[in-house]
Symmetry: D4
Subunit: 136 residues, 8 copies
């Protein structure tokens, strides 16, 4: 279903999701309309799920980024899955295997905001927090 | 430097990074050129780092996604930081605190590709792998 | 009670439990009836507990195999021991020493089926899941 | 490729892999030759990998069964994968994810034989041993 | 706000917080009144939080010093934060990230007083105690 | 050797180590010279080890405080004990029992300074870092 | 209170607690009555707490010896301390620091007796069992 | 081989290994010579391995008792097994299963002697130390 030209397109969009169909076409020797058709097909079949952006959190006043692994307390799984949607600090959340059950990526203003978030999460689960030092 | 209108713009772009300046403007009652100016300023000051996309890895033939925590062997930090760039399976890599040093997000075809990747990583570090079950 | 000829027989059957008494006899220079007598004695004294088979789970549509270690919640031991019988995904279950109490081998269709199983087990115990990558 | 009748056959053989084609046929209302054909197809496509048997290890003089998780030392993966084949005490071996790399099932005569095996394995890896208490 | 002379002053006071303004002035070539002014400003802006002292606990009859990491039980965070104030054995307490939530430094008379303290803390949290062997 | 009046004096000095002998005397109904004598005796017998101060590290430009537990690599104990003296970021260092050997308290400017410190420590030991969120 | 001759006596008794006063005296050049006096004084001051013996548990039909570390559940400390006295399988019990609270040495007939003991202990605490392989 | 009267004798000797044959006989209605015969048989068949004594270590100037679990470094097993014999602080040593390999019981004068012992052991293994708080 997805051929090698599609994969090229996806690779390019991954690096710059705002390129116009014309710019995309120039990079892979296709007409803008041929690109548009392929991209629309990739969107329709939900190969492409979302166009999004990466920001510099420090420049937005959020000094700390962290991964948090949660080991959910007995009977609290449903509650915490609902709650996760309500915290704007939580950027990403995944169910995972291992001795913990949920993996979060969070962005917070400072130590006190991280503590407030942990205080909330501690009602539902044990938490293990890994501060992000830098991107490799 | 970043005002509340900028933050609105960033929120909208986070959900759909391909919206045109006209569409963005309509959503926040600004002219396309005013939007363009703001977006360009956010790019210039590197508040916006990258426009990118999320894909459905299963539909691209990659059945397994996982987080891997690495505890780097003595003297191997520089080597592994270089190597990480070479593995296409590694989507994201961060230096972190905790009892491990590096946090990876990987996307692989199947168990054997995951094993091959782990075989490589085991030359530089202890590995702890958490299979991703679903996105919350 | 079990002599070295019996042990030879058991070794051969372990590799191919469907061999006829005649075939078994040929391999160890015994008459079919002598083999039958020995095998029946081994069954009678329950040295042989079961003839069984190994299948390729992937070919049956089950993409993931895993070991799961359970640390049972206070007061839930009896409940979980009963429940284990009801899950067809659980191939083997043993009580073990260590910081966990029960060791499972499970075969599931995919990540979502594994998640559903873990959701159930999480009512009775902490879970630690090890994905099987390959057989050595 | 594998239909519901095949699955029935596999379930029956899993409980008693030595049943004759006639006995199998009686259980699922098929002629012996139809059963034979199906079983041969399942063998041919390697859905069935092996007919084997379960024995009572205590009755064969082996008092201890255990799972051992190995965290392989840097550079020792290939060596230990080779070595594992040489130890008759090792019943099963799998590559796994988690903070360890290899999962073993072992059957040994007594504490001293377990110690001797661990002494060997300790040349290649950290070991974590879980004594099997009973089958659930 | 804090210049390099202030930092010098802070470094000297950290080694001997009882030095007179005259003595401090002599060490950094400032008049006593200039020192006084700077110190008062550092106190006013709460750069300096407290002048304190280090004692030899063994000489005061307290044989054991330890760090204790607490993993607070569900719903017990507020209770333990209040309780911590009441134990004179607890010298310092911090909220921390990691798999535990609170980090204590305690000074106790002997093993039995440590046990009594742990018995109390065990009502609110799991405890992990590290005996201090010496100061580096 | 240390009587209850001495203990009162130590408690007062712990809260404010810069109080004059006159102020100290007023608080416990002793003449300044009697206080001086007692304090000098406590210094002489090294009950008092040091007068020091607590500062607000954030106000000095150091955004992160953390505890780091080190598990020293084979043969590296002497090296790391020497090195610890050289890092100004390390506020306190203790030898401890537990599965790690050394306990540090560190104060650093930001994530990158913490990473640089960890890069150094990783030459001698495994590190486990707990970010300090607040003082209780 | 305890001099070097007493220590010699204690060392000898530790190796053979049934030696007569005459035999003890011969080994350290003292009269039987002088030895008796010293031993009685050591008993009186409770330096000697108990004369006991070491047996070969296997020869008494107990095949397994193990250490068990218990992490007591909230509110169960008193209950388990009482219960411990009732289990004849528990040879020694100590309160300890670390992430667990109680350290047991147990001697049991076989895997099933160990499982029965663990089933009981699991009502009060998490258990972590280390099988004893041999005495060094 | 060991009958119920022998077991009674062993139980009594475990509580007081210095009782005379006459005293032992009175407790179980046997003549002194019959007791002697039984005891000698138990010694001969090495059911009884050693008569020993329990002392109050604090009264002998040893303030700290601890269990230490060792995870032996690759290639160091033989060395450490030899070394263990040389440390008088080590009261008992066992090979164990679990993630560590050797279990020690040690008695030391104070924190510095414990540190010196750990410094030695750290040449051969990772150490995990549990301070004994009291006997249950």
């Amino acid at each position: 279903m997805v051929d090698s030209v599609d994969r090229q397109l996806l690779d390019i969009l991954k690096d710059n999701a705002r390129l116009s169909f014309a710019d995309l076409g120039r990079k892979i020797n296709l007409s803008p309309s041929a690109v548009r058709e392929r991209v629309q097909k990739l969107e329709e079949f939900e190969v492409i799920q979302k166009y999004t952006l990466q920001v510099d959190h420090k420049k937005l006043g959020n000094d700390l980024e962290a991964f948090i692994l949660l080991k959910v307390f007995p009977g609290q799984l449903k509650n915490i899955l609902k709650k996760i949607k309500d915290y704007p600090e939580i950027e990403e959340a995944h169910r995972v295997t291992g001795s913990q059950n949920i993996h979060l990526k969070v962005v917070v203003k400072n130590q006190l905001s991280l503590q407030r978030l942990l205080d909330e999460l501690m009602n539902f689960s044990d938490t293990n927090t890994f501060l992000i030092l830098s991107k490799v």
